[in-house]
Symmetry: C2
Subunit: 206 residues, 2 copies
């Protein structure tokens, strides 16, 4: 896992369609897309996933579904991102198979230690910085916490939470393999330009 990872937020997209934000973000260089929905029907979520899969295919960008293994299976997604309140990892792996991308959020040090025993594809260090996007998370890890996790973990580390162009460099310096953003792209008036700006910083640091 390297590069820029978009996590969608319907509310932050405002009047822009989620599909439009995704397409522009991918044109701006996003390497992974996680579709996150909380207040839509299962059928809507599946149809949206199928649509977005079509949008992403020409760019070879994987589609990852937040939480919902049923939507990932029915929507032909490449994997799921699960949190500690979602399906237990072993069940998700059994249902999705060995080829699926499965990422797991770590919110406490116990989560980090437990993830060492799992063949997850990445861990999501969440949140790195405090953020208004997610209110149900634990304390922020900070750059210090991110660094400690990177030194300990055998998994690729995706950093998420409050990351924007002004702090992405220090997130990478602290050890993030991949940088995930929500509002920095979804809430931007120009998602393609926002993705390009972030991506240029990420690429220059490698």
């Amino acid at each position: 896992m390297r590069g820029l990872y978009l996590v969608t937020d319907r509310g932050l997209c405002g009047e822009k369609a989620v599909e439009t934000v995704i397409l522009q973000a991918v044109k701006g260089g996003v390497s992974y897309v996680q579709l996150r929905e909380k207040d839509v029907s299962t059928r809507f979520f599946i149809e949206e996933a199928l649509n977005i899969r079509k949008i992403l295919r020409p760019y070879h960008v994987p589609l990852i579904i937040n939480d919902r293994v049923d939507v990932a299976l029915a929507g032909g997604a490449d994997g799921v991102h699960i949190g500690q309140e979602d399906m237990p990892y072993a069940m998700a792996r059994r249902l999705l198979g060995p080829e699926a991308i499965i990422g797991l959020s770590v919110e406490t040090w116990e989560d980090v230690e437990a993830s060492q025993e799992l063949d997850v594809n990445y861990i999501g260090v969440s949140p790195v910085f405090a953020t208004p996007t997610k209110t149900d998370t634990k304390d922020a890890w900070g750059l210090e916490g991110l660094h400690r996790i990177k030194a300990f973990s055998r998994h690729p580390v995706v950093a998420i939470g409050g990351i924007h162009p002004a702090n992405v460099k220090e997130v990478l310096d602290a050890g993030a393999d991949c940088v995930a953003v929500v509002s920095a792209i979804c809430a931007s008036d120009d998602p393609e330009a926002a993705a390009k700006e972030l991506n240029a910083i990420i690429r220059s640091g490698k």
Copy 2:
């Protein structure tokens, strides 16, 4: 499908645990249990399903999950009940396999006609009577609508919506193979007695 079918509602259970209501209802003669949850995490829903499966096993009562195929798969349930806003039937059947019980709500005559082409295990005629439990449904079918569906459909018919001891006889007379209730059991001070009362009427009519 015959007999009495309980659909759970956490809110209507009030201070009673959902598991307690289910156990009492099964002791009172319920033949099917559908676990319906809307505002709990995926992990909670799966753990609840696993617990309830254990409760039901000695009684040989199938556990059906509302909407969530992922929870049904991970929770070892016997099937799912899907509405028109949930996963399309064909996908659910593909994911759950030929042995699963899959029920489908029909809310319009078009839904009834479309269900003839599907190998669903039953159709849920929803709602038979207007009910405060579900506010997102179409107009009530009434006994007339239920009768018309039974005459037309090749599937077992489960009637749901506003059914209680005083009207269950006419629901059966109108053609219901099976009677589903929510508040008549969940909101009762004595779910076992409530189930027994309904079940006695159902059995006497056969």
